[in-house]
């Protein structure tokens, strides 16, 4: 395994706003990484830097061991799929597929054709007349079929309906099994991609907040529910990722799971309900912008 993407103290500033702040992470070859984060966390900026569309302000970024900005090598071996992808208006959909096939040496035209028919696109249609969801689907087809060593999807399912989303993720997985490559897929719906991805890269305030295998994320945190004083006693001085009061004296608290099995056993005995936390919920807790939650806005009442 070798690193396809390496970022070290990567920083990107727009005038006064810092979007990426000393971001450091490494993405290994032939993995599917889910890049998750709230809106504005810097996901798109990071991905655009990786594909060479944007220039880093400081720090080091290397894709295929090369600085991606203005690199022909990176451009030839990566594809960036998002809903802003634009195509020449004069070309029909099928001509666009053929054009893409000419640019990418690994392009699987047969697969593209198959997906094209499956999603019932009109080969003679035009991209600008597609609906939002259809555009996303079309872009995704190009993204999958291009079989680029580094394939990047930025919110690929925008506008797609439920069925198409499932089909897309399955198509991506199947083609990945057949033709392994490095895939980064960004989303703010973790539950949509959690089965598909191998690693999670959680972006918060322009930093890599967490970077671990998805299986570990599922065991990252644990929830206690029960009498408030008992819950507080058990969690000790751990950072509370999420808390909620139910009724007069019942508390629900999520903390990082570094408990010993005996501790949990004792907690259960003292009448606390212990449960695991769904990774999508955990994602929300981890990425919430500040301390507290929406309830705190209404705190005065």
């Amino acid at each position: 395994m070798s690193a396809i993407v390496e970022c070290h103290n990567l920083t990107k500033k727009y005038r006064t706003k810092t979007v990426l702040n000393n971001f450091t992470a490494t993405i290994e070859e032939n993995t599917i990484t889910g890049l998750i984060g709230r809106n504005g966390a810097g996901k798109t900026t990071l991905l655009k830097i990786l594909t060479g569309y944007l220039k880093e302000t400081s720090g080091k970024v290397a894709v295929f061991s090369e600085r991606p900005f203005n690199s022909l090598k990176v451009s030839a071996n990566s594809i960036f799929v998002d809903d802003q992808m634009s195509y020449p208006p004069a070309l029909q959909l099928y001509e666009l597929i053929e054009a893409a096939a000419r640019f990418y040496p690994n392009f699987n035209l047969k697969l593209a054709k198959g997906l094209f028919d499956y999603f019932s696109f009109d080969p003679k249609g035009y991209h600008k007349r597609l609906s939002k969801g259809q555009k996303s689907t079309f872009n995704a087809i190009i993204g999958i079929a291009a079989r680029c060593p580094l394939t990047i999807f930025d919110e690929p399912t925008t506008g797609m309906d439920e069925g198409v989303r499932k089909d897309f993720y399955r198509a991506l997985l199947k083609d990945y099994l057949e033709f392994p490559r490095t895939i980064i897929i960004s989303s703010h719906h973790l539950n949509e991609i959690e089965d598909l991805i191998e690693d999670v890269l959680l972006l918060k305030n322009g930093r890599a907040f967490l970077h671990l295998p998805i299986t570990e994320l599922k065991e990252y945190a644990i929830a206690f529910k029960g009498r408030k004083d008992e819950v507080l006693r058990r969690i000790g001085d751990r950072d509370v990722l999420h808390k909620q009061y139910i009724g007069a004296d019942t508390m629900y608290a999520v903390v990082k799971n570094d408990f010993q099995e005996e501790d949990l056993e004792q907690a259960r005995r003292s009448g606390l309900e212990i449960s695991s936390v769904r990774s999508s919920d955990l994602f929300v807790y981890l990425t919430k912008p500040a301390k507290g939650g929406i309830d705190d806005v209404f705190g005065g009442n």
């Binding site: 070859e29 030839a76 802003q84 054009a99």
Partner: protein
């Protein structure tokens, strides 16, 4: 997984072919502008109607100079257009970097410029047909277009169009650098005209015009134009090379 190694030449070639196919609209705008210029030229074909005691002379004058002028102007517009958002975004959807993008743009502009030059020169024959069939001209006076004339004319028009493309491209690059140039460039042009008028001197713009259009030595002309073209593209590339692609 092995990485695809792509040479600059191959990237430029693919992009050039892609652009040729994708930007067919360039030809329709060329065609429409040439047709309009042709219509103007046709409407303007009666130059004199002189009447004295013996003759009532109507002088018909057929020329495609307006078509050529418009084609040069179209080159300027096309040069600017290639760097507008719609075009550059599609440019970077697939494999490219700034250098290959610029080189393929230059090739593309050269190709359509050549097509424009040939079309403009060929349109002369259409106006001759108008003379023959619409005006029933029995005899045409003037210089017939020889093959030599055709090639010389096409080459010179091509150089003019290419120069216009390069200037347009440079303007496009400036505008990409900063939107302020959208206002600044016309303001500078008008400003210089007004300044020269106030100073009561021959306008700088006309000196620029004379620099190219009043050069009667073909060799010097070619050198002047080629140098200007290279300068414009080089400057544009240096501006663009440091810029981000999509923000």
């Amino acid at each position: 997984m092995s990485l695809a190694e792509i040479s600059l030449g191959a990237a430029v070639k693919r992009q050039f072919l892609f652009k040729m196919k994708a930007n067919i609209d360039v030809y329709s705008s060329l065609m429409i502008m040439q047709l309009l210029a042709f219509a103007i030229s046709y409407g303007d074909r009666i130059r004199y109607a002189v009447r004295d005691e013996i003759f009532l002379s109507k002088v018909y004058y057929y020329s495609v100079d307006p078509v050529i002028g418009i084609t040069i102007f179209w080159g300027l517009v096309t040069g600017i257009t290639v760097l507008t958002k719609g075009y550059t975004d599609t440019d970077f959807t697939f494999v490219t970097n700034r250098l290959s993008s610029t080189l393929s743009n230059i090739l593309f502009l050269a190709a359509v410029g050549l097509a424009g030059a040939i079309m403009a020169m060929l349109s002369k024959n259409v106006i001759l047909l108008v003379a023959l069939f619409v005006d029933k001209a029995d005899v045409l006076y003037g210089s017939p277009m020889t093959a030599g004339d055709f090639f010389l004319g096409t080459a010179v028009v091509f150089l003019y169009v290419s120069l216009a493309c390069a200037i347009g491209y440079f303007i496009g690059a400036l505008v990409k650098l900063n939107k302020i140039f959208v206002f600044l460039i016309p303001a500078l042009l008008i400003g210089s005209l007004m300044f020269d008028a106030a100073q009561d001197q021959w306008p700088l713009l006309f000196k620029v015009y004379e620099f190219y259009f009043h050069e009667f030595s073909l060799a010097i002309f070619v050198v002047k134009v080629l140098a200007s073209i290279i300068l414009c593209y080089l400057a544009s590339f240096l501006i663009l090379n440091r810029m981000e692609i999509r923000s």
